[in-house]
């Protein structure tokens, strides 16, 4: 039986909805993170599936609960953002000696699958609620928040794994290698833009409008690497523990100018699991509960081949207003922001939509903010997790860190008290985001 996704009625995608009905009913507690790798070495024990199982076991252990208590799973099945195996490719030799198989042969290899997990994790014997949060783990988080608040699951795993196969990121692979183009890519893909180019295009428009330039991104990118290197679970700490400098950034090779290599988060393998539950059930969990105060969604307007600057500004402004309305807080209450950053060149759209650290400015101020103290020690911690640019692309480091910050155990803990934070992904016009809080007061 196909695993469902959240009904549209669960989305909080317009203004005027008032305080979220689930506010005060859902908390996050345990967090489990797998080791990282740049690419899969094709061994079952380092696969996406194996990493996911490890992350789940670590999350349960971190929460100090029994696997019997888990009665729900929300999982993002999609994995890489690069070219992947054909969905019907058989599992590699030896795979079935290690893992039990479901009908879908790529389960655990290039795609997450709840039934595959349950088959290979016999300790999860009380799972009744199963739902997919497609495309992005942000969707899984918002879906799980609704599911717990509606009483459909009491103790729920939120899960996402990533794989990364051999080969350059999309370059000369799959559809890009052909002399014809089919599917949606034919309307824009034939112009040959790499993934970051749309963002670079709109960033360029932003710079022209507000009188900014690419060099102004350097302090942000460098600070993200600093924060990422504090994280023992991050890719760069584990595999490339070198700091970058402003000069490194300014001399980075162009991918789609004005986006250079440092503006692109690095595809990796890794998995994360987080425990969502109710405040009542969390009382015996080992970790401090972190409240989900609200969530919200934006989706693209789809009028042109790529979005416009105006759409990204409209959409991220709306996200800010929706989040604050449902959470009952304002931008001045945020202790930090952990919005998605890969590509780095759109992070400022999220920052400005939230009016984070605004001194009355509405738009065009974030790159100036980057020239001030945005460190974890400063008054306005920007991306204290180091994000995906500072830890490798998973689209979940920022969510994970928001929970850890408020629990007071982030490896890059901000100096000011972490009372309220925000995290979300991915694009400024296609985003699922959450407000996290130490309390509902």
């Amino acid at each position: 039986m196909p695993i469902p996704i959240a009904p549209h009625s669960w989305h909080r995608n317009r203004e005027g909805l008032g305080i979220w009905e689930g506010r005060g009913k859902v908390v996050a507690t345990g967090v489990g993170t797998s080791p990282t790798a740049r690419r899969w070495d094709e061994k079952p024990e380092t696969s996406l599936g194996a990493l996911t199982i490890l992350a789940i076991r670590r999350a349960i252990e971190d929460a100090g609960i029994s696997p019997d208590e888990i009665d729900g799973i929300v999982l993002t099945p999609e994995s890489t953002t690069g070219v992947s195996n054909d969905p019907n490719s058989p599992a590699p030799e030896g795979w079935s000696d290690v893992f039990k198989m479901v009908d879908y042969p790529q389960a655990g290899i290039t795609r997450g699958d709840i039934d595959w997990l349950l088959l290979n994790m016999p300790e999860l014997k009380n799972v009744q609620f199963k739902m997919n949060g497609p495309v992005c783990m942000s969707v899984a988080f918002t879906t799980a928040a609704e599911a717990v608040s509606r009483g459909l699951t009491g103790t729920c795993l939120v899960v996402r794994g990533w794989h990364n196969l051999a080969g350059r990121y999309y370059v000369g692979q799959g559809a890009a290698a052909r002399d014809t183009a089919s599917g949606p890519g034919k309307y824009g893909g034939i112009w040959g833009m790499p993934a970051c180019a749309t963002t670079a295009m709109i960033f360029e428009e932003y710079c022209n409008k507000y009188g900014k330039n690419h060099d102004m991104m350097a302090p942000f990118v460098v600070e993200e690497r600093r924060n990422g290197l504090m994280n023992p679970d991050g890719f760069f700490t584990q595999h490339r523990p070198e700091m970058i400098t402003v000069d490194d950034y300014l001399s980075g090779r162009w991918i789609a100018k004005p986006a250079n290599i440092y503006d692109n988060d690095l595809p990796i393998q890794a998995a994360l699991a987080v425990i969502f539950t109710t405040p009542e059930l969390a009382k015996h969990h080992k970790q401090k509960p972190v409240y989900i105060l609200n969530h919200a969604q934006t989706r693209p307007e789809l009028q042109g081949a790529i979005p416009t600057l105006a759409e990204w500004e409209r959409s991220s402004d709306k996200m800010g207003r929706m989040l604050y309305e449902g959470a009952g807080i304002g931008p001045e209450d945020l202790s930090f922001e952990n919005m998605y950053d890969g590509f780095t060149l759109f992070h400022q759209f999220h920052v400005e939509g939230l009016r984070f650290a605004s001194r009355g400015e509405k738009r065009g101020y974030a790159l100036d903010l980057y020239q001030t103290d945005i460190s974890i020690e400063g008054p306005n911690p920007v991306s204290p997790s180091g994000g995906n640019n500072g830890n490798g692309r998973t689209r979940w480091w920022h969510h994970r860190d928001s929970i850890l910050q408020i629990q007071g155990r982030s490896p890059s803990q901000i100096t000011r008290p972490a009372e309220y934070g925000v995290s979300g992904a991915h694009m400024p016009n296609f985003c699922d985001a959450l407000i996290w809080g130490a309390s509902v007061e």
Partner: protein, 136 residues
């Protein structure tokens, strides 16, 4: 530049047929009075499916640009670095199309300049696609 040849489907055949006749037609939603591109089965704003194909002027304005140094498309890699610009259509500036701006040197894209549509033949199948040239 050696673009990939788009393969039309029954759904978007009117767009590609018009390209081969060197006319630019895009979808229009009568309910919203709004143009859109790429073609879709419905209007993303109101959900209407009774979209019509309408010829537009073929004029626009360069809105932004990038210079591609690392394209995924094999056929274009020999031409790197190359420009890609966004073109905002005169009829509705939120409708964006892409262009290599043939003849414009890399890093010399005139943001805000007026452009008009031309049609470029793609080598694999001969299908024509919209391109744009600077006229002022």
């Amino acid at each position: 530049m050696r673009k990939q040849s788009p393969v039309p489907t029954e759904f978007d055949q009117p767009f590609y047929d018009a390209c081969n006749e060197e006319r630019l037609v895009i979808q229009h939603c009568p309910a919203c009075n709004r143009f859109q591109f790429p073609p879709r089965t419905m209007c993303p704003r109101c959900g209407a499916s009774n979209l019509t194909w309408q010829q537009v002027s073929g004029r626009g304005r360069i809105q932004s640009r990038v210079v591609v140094y690392d394209s995924p498309v094999s056929a274009l890699i020999p031409d790197q670095p190359f420009n890609v610009a966004t073109i905002a259509l005169e009829e509705e500036p939120d409708v964006i199309m892409l262009s290599h701006l043939p003849g414009v040197p890399v890093d010399a894209v005139p943001i805000g300049a007026t452009v008009e549509v031309i049609f470029e033949t793609t080598p694999a199948t001969g299908q024509k696609v919209p391109e744009w040239r600077v006229v002022g």
